[in-house]
Every structure is written in C-alpha cells, then in structure tokens.
C-alpha cells in the first residue's frame, strides 16, 4: 500500500536537513556509514580508539589515527528525549530520543537512540547517514535484527522502498526490469521508463509495474515524465548507462550515462527534493547504476570507464546540493549480458543488482558494490586508491 503525503491543502513539510557541518576529520564517519561499516579512528601507536574524531591520540598524542572497524557493542549510560530543539530539522521531528553510550572500545558517544533501548542495558551500534549525508551514531537494541525498521523515527536514516513510488528509468534492459520486479516485491509501486517504445526489446510483453515513455537522452521526454509523475515519485533507480566493453560511440555513451543522469538531476530530481520532508514516506533517494570502471578505469572498457566516471563525478558533486535525498552509487562489475559473452565469470547478474539496490535503500547506505568484481575493486580502492589507479 502506498502511503500518501499529508494534507494537500497545507504547505508540505520543508525538505530540511539536520546540522550538516563537520570537521574534515569527522568525514570519516560518513565514509564508514556510506559503506555500512562501523569504524572509528584507532591509534596506530597505542591502539586506543578515539571519539569524537581527533587529530592526535587522546591516550599517547600520536598522530597516526587510522579508521578501523571497531566492536559495535556498548552500554547505554544515559538517555533523554529532546522535546525542544533550536534546529529547524529537529523541530520537525521532536520528540527525538538520544543518549550517551560507553562503547566496548572505550569511547563515549552521543547517539540517536532506538525507542527500545534501556539505560544500563547493552546496545548495538551502527553508523548511519543522516538526512544531511553525515555519518551519525545510532544505538539499537542488541536483539532486534529489524531494529532500523522497528522504530518509526529511524525511517529518517533509511529509504525503505515499501510504501513508496519508484521510477526505474530504463525498462529496456533486463537490469531495469529485474530492479522493478524486486522493488514491487519489496512493497513499492513502480513506474518503468521505456525509451523509443516503437523499437522492440526483450521482455517488452511482460513488463513489471507501470510502463511509461521515458528517454533519458531526450530532455523533452524527461521533462514530460517529470510533469506526469514527478510529484509522486519518492525514489529514482536509474539503470541507464553505458556498460559495454571496448570502444564505441562516445557521444552516445555519454548520452545514456552522464547526460542521462544530468537530465534527471536538472529536470526530475528537484521534484523529489522538494518533497523530501513531506509525509510519512517522503521522497528519499536517487540510485544510479554506475560501472565500477568509473571509479577505477578498465583498459578493456575505456569508453565505459570515461562515461561512468563522468556520471560518478556528477553524482558526487551533486550530493551535498541534493540533501535530504540520498544519492546512492550502485557500482557494478562487468554485466552478465550479451556484451560480455567472452568474459569468464564472475559477472554482475540482474538478480544481484536488484537485491543490492533493495538492500542499499533499506540500509540507507550510499556506496555499494554489486557482485564479486565490483566488491573486489572497491576494496582495492579503499585499501589504496593510488596503487589501484596506478596499476
């Protein structure tokens, strides 16, 4: 069931964001959160964990503080409920539960607090991206595996497709069709964009969701689609892109990747942003399917590398301007499609992609790698981007 926004005769809740300013160092929290990790600075000299993020070790003053995964357990020291806040975003969301947790790694953190956490009890910590796109500490009950969903306030940290309307931009591909099917199974209502409907394509007689004409290479088409459904769509899953090996028509490649994303950004996403604070299921995310070769260029796919790099650069540059929306990069490796017949496995399958998109939306992460190749390359990049790019 699709939950409707609030009373249409009154101004909708504005798309506000919580306090967004952070030190550069604290950006490490967002990096960890965007990958679904729980990482803090750990001193390379004495091993002490640090929080809040620091420039020198609180134990030995050493400067070698590296972001490392740390244990997620802790004990709730105190709890409170903010009923009056000076911040406009939190004024929209009060009462807001928060607390102080002594983590098992020895630091004390103020946290967003799940309604079922009791003072003195153990909690399980996660780092989540808040509506400002910053990494924040969230304390959950240790035993509730569905904790991010069980506290309605925590919807602010996730983009669960259940009850939301989703536009999947390119239904001409099996990846778009698979994503649409998975989203419907996850409880979403799906519009499925079809470019050049006069030209046949596989699966056209059994399309999931509501097919509609949408050609991301044509600004007029994007404008028309935005006019038709822009006021209703809560999530965009953009599966348009250039994922072929080798070289090819560079302009056409840029049209279906970079320019396609740019047209969405200019003509469609603003409609989502305007409704990103409204109702129980506000507009919340824009997902882009991006080749991992956009992050680490692939000599066997130079054109796709450039096209995906352009899309990736665009999305990253837009992120801060698009809050409170989450801009999710779904990095894919070589696709399991006709263009990669000669390539041995592993390849990214339609099922892997569809499930990864659902998981990313539910977890509220912003950078996911789909399939073994993309995961491996992303891990290499995180390990040492300079070496990865040089090699």
């Amino acid at each position: 069931m699709i939950r409707h926004p609030g009373n249409p005769t009154i101004l909708p809740a504005a798309p506000l964001v919580p306090p967004a300013a952070r030190s550069r160092t604290a950006g490490g929290l967002a990096v960890a959160a965007s990958q679904g990790r729980f990482a803090l600075q750990v001193c390379a000299d004495c091993g002490r964990s640090q929080y809040p993020p620091r420039e020198a070790c609180v134990g030995c003053l050493g400067a070698r503080l590296n972001w490392r995964d740390v244990p997620t357990g802790g004990v709730l020291s105190a709890a409170s409920t903010v009923r009056i806040s000076s911040d406009p975003y939190f004024r929209q969301h009060t009462p807001w539960r928060m607390g102080s947790v002594r983590l098992d790694c020895g630091v004390d953190a103020m946290v967003h607090l799940h309604r079922d956490c009791a003072v003195g009890g153990r909690v399980s910590m996660v780092l989540k991206l808040d509506k400002a796109g910053q990494g924040v500490m969230v304390a959950l009950p240790e035993t509730d595996i569905n904790a991010m969903q069980s506290d309605p306030k925590f919807r602010a940290f996730t983009c669960d497709p259940a009850g939301r309307r989703v536009l999947v931009t390119d239904g001409r591909t099996t990846f778009g069709q698979a994503a649409a099917r998975a989203l419907i199974a996850a409880g979403a209502e799906v519009f499925l964009g079809i470019a050049a409907p006069w030209h046949p394509f596989p699966g056209q007689n059994d399309l999931p969701g509501t097919p509609m004409t949408l050609d991301l290479t044509d600004g007029i088409s994007v404008q028309n689609a935005a006019a038709a459904i822009g006021a209703r769509v809560d999530i965009i899953v953009n599966t348009s892109g250039y994922f072929r090996p080798g070289a090819g028509d560079a302009r056409a490649a840029m049209e279906v990747s970079y320019f396609a994303a740019l047209r969405l950004a200019q003509l469609f996403v603003p409609a989502l942003q305007a409704r990103a604070g409204d109702g129980t299921h506000p507009a919340c995310a824009w997902v882009n399917m991006i080749g991992i070769n956009g992050l680490v260029p692939d000599p066997a796919a130079s054109l796709a590398s450039a096209a995906n790099a352009a899309t990736l650069a665009l999305v990253r540059a837009l992120r801060p301007t698009m809050r409170p929306l989450k801009l999710i990069n779904a990095f894919v490796g070589p696709l399991d499609d006709q263009w990669h017949q000669a390539l041995p496995p592993p390849k990214t399958s339609t099922a892997q992609f569809a499930q990864a998109v659902i998981a990313a939306l539910r977890d509220g992460v912003e950078d996911i790698a789909v399939g073994d190749i993309a995961r491996h390359i992303l891990a290499q990049w995180h390990d040492n981007a300079a070496i990865t790019l040089h090699a």
Partner: protein, 256 residues
C-alpha cells in the same frame, strides 16, 4: 509573361498549391536502428538555449542535434559504398539543378498499407507506365505505401527478424535506374524494404541507386495528395560539407 511570372501568378491565384511532404522533426520520431554492434544514427534532439529568460531575456532558440538520416531526409550517392567515388555525390556538391524536379507517384497503398512485406516490382511499374506513360528520365519516383499514416511501433514495424516495411525488389530498382530516374522517394524509414538485407544484392535501393549516382528521399508523407504525374518536388538538403544526406523540408507543387 515569362514562365516564372506565370508560376508566381498561379501560386497567388491558388491554381497551384504546395503540399508539404515532410514529417515533423521530433525527438520521438523513429529512426533507422542497425544491429547493436554497428554505429547508430542519432535521433533528433533539441535543447533550449534561452526562452526569454536569464539566458536570453528577449529571445527564444534551441540547439539541435540530429543524424544526417533522421526524420524526413535526403540520401546522397556517397551514402553508400557503391556511390563513394562518383562526382557530385555529397550534399555540398550535388547538382543544384536536380533539387527541383518532377515526380511520378506510384500508388501501391491498396496493397502495401497493410503488408509490411509488400515489394514494388517491375510488373507494378510497367502497369503504372501502361496507365500513365513512360517515366521520364530525371523524375523522382515516389512510392506511395500510406505507411506515413502509421506511427510509433506500427510505423517502424520491427519484429524479431528485423523491420518489415514495404520497398522495391532488386529488379525494380535496376529497372528504375535504367529509366534514368533522379531518385526514389518513400514513406518508410529506408528506401529499401525492411527485409532488404536478405535480398540480392543486399539493400538494392541503396546499392544500385547510389551506385548510379541517384538520390533517395525517406520518411515522406502526404503522397496521397499528389497526382500520378505533374507534381514538382523541391527537395534541397542542407549544404553539409561532404555530407551523405540531411533532414530537409520536402515540398510538392501541384495543380490545385
């Protein structure tokens, strides 16, 4: 009275009328689609430069992009490998005298309108001549199929084995070349039939016509408003340097 003055007077008096044979150049108009491993003809695209706004407060204009063979368009001989070495074979070197020429309209709509595999044959052409006289050299031959009255998927009519749209068979094309026609004009996306890749030679309208230095006109419409003979066609492509063709406005001047 000179013939031009008479022409002007007839136009003014309405005893001659202009028929627009051109489809509207729009982003969603179907284009030729080659197998995916080949390069593709760009569809028509337009983007606003300014619309009386901060990018241009008092004026409105677009930037457009388009393939040479998109929408209602002209094929020059250089378009095909068989015509690549001919003189005056590109859009900028075409003999301008040829850009206004009379047309013979071969109406096959009765049989072709509902048959994507309809082929124009020598027999049909000979029957036409029997009725209307010999096709003069230097005339356009316009193949009326009424496919311009279709749109979208019905117009492109792409099935699993490719497009199924009417066109001439190889013998008919050779027959037209031998008649010395200026070129072949059609309502479908190509001068060749949709299944012409199975013909011998492949794509005869392209292979034989362009090999003989003749022209093509595609995606025409309103052929049903033309007489079998007596229409003058104004079909002047853009003067693109070394171009293989171009979208254009095609006009027919016919007796009212």
């Amino acid at each position: 009275m000179s013939s031009l003055a008479a022409f002007a007077a007839d136009l003014a008096a309405g005893s001659l009328k202009i028929v627009d044979l051109t489809q509207t150049l729009a982003p969603d108009f179907p284009t030729i689609v080659l197998p995916p491993q080949f390069g593709q003809c760009a569809p028509f695209r337009m983007e606003v430069i300014s619309r009386y706004d901060d990018a241009g407060p008092g004026w409105f204009w677009h930037n457009i992009s388009v393939g040479e063979h998109t929408g209602t368009h002209f094929d020059a001989p250089v378009h095909w490998v068989t015509g690549k070495d001919l003189p005056n074979n590109t859009t900028d070197t075409l003999v301008v005298q040829n850009l206004i020429a009379p047309a013979c309209v071969v109406d096959c709509s009765k049989d072709a309108a509902n048959n994507g595999d309809y082929l124009l044959t020598v027999a049909t052409l000979e029957a036409w001549e029997a009725k209307h006289g010999k096709i003069p050299a230097g005339n356009w031959v316009l193949f009326r199929s009424d496919w311009s009255k279709r749109s979208g998927a019905d117009y492109a009519n792409v099935l699993e084995d490719g497009a199924h749209t009417p066109g001439p068979d190889a013998a008919a094309v050779q027959w037209l070349v031998d008649r010395g026609v200026l070129g072949l004009g059609v309502e479908t996306i190509g001068t060749d039939a949709g299944q012409a890749h199975t013909f011998t030679p492949m794509y005869p309208a392209h292979t034989l016509m362009h090999g003989a230095g003749r022209y093509g006109l595609q995606c025409l419409c309103n052929l049903d408003q033309l007489p079998p003979t007596g229409a003058m066609i104004v079909a002047a492509p853009l003067k693109i340097l070394g171009g293989s063709g171009s979208p254009l406005r095609v006009l027919a001047i016919v007796p009212a």
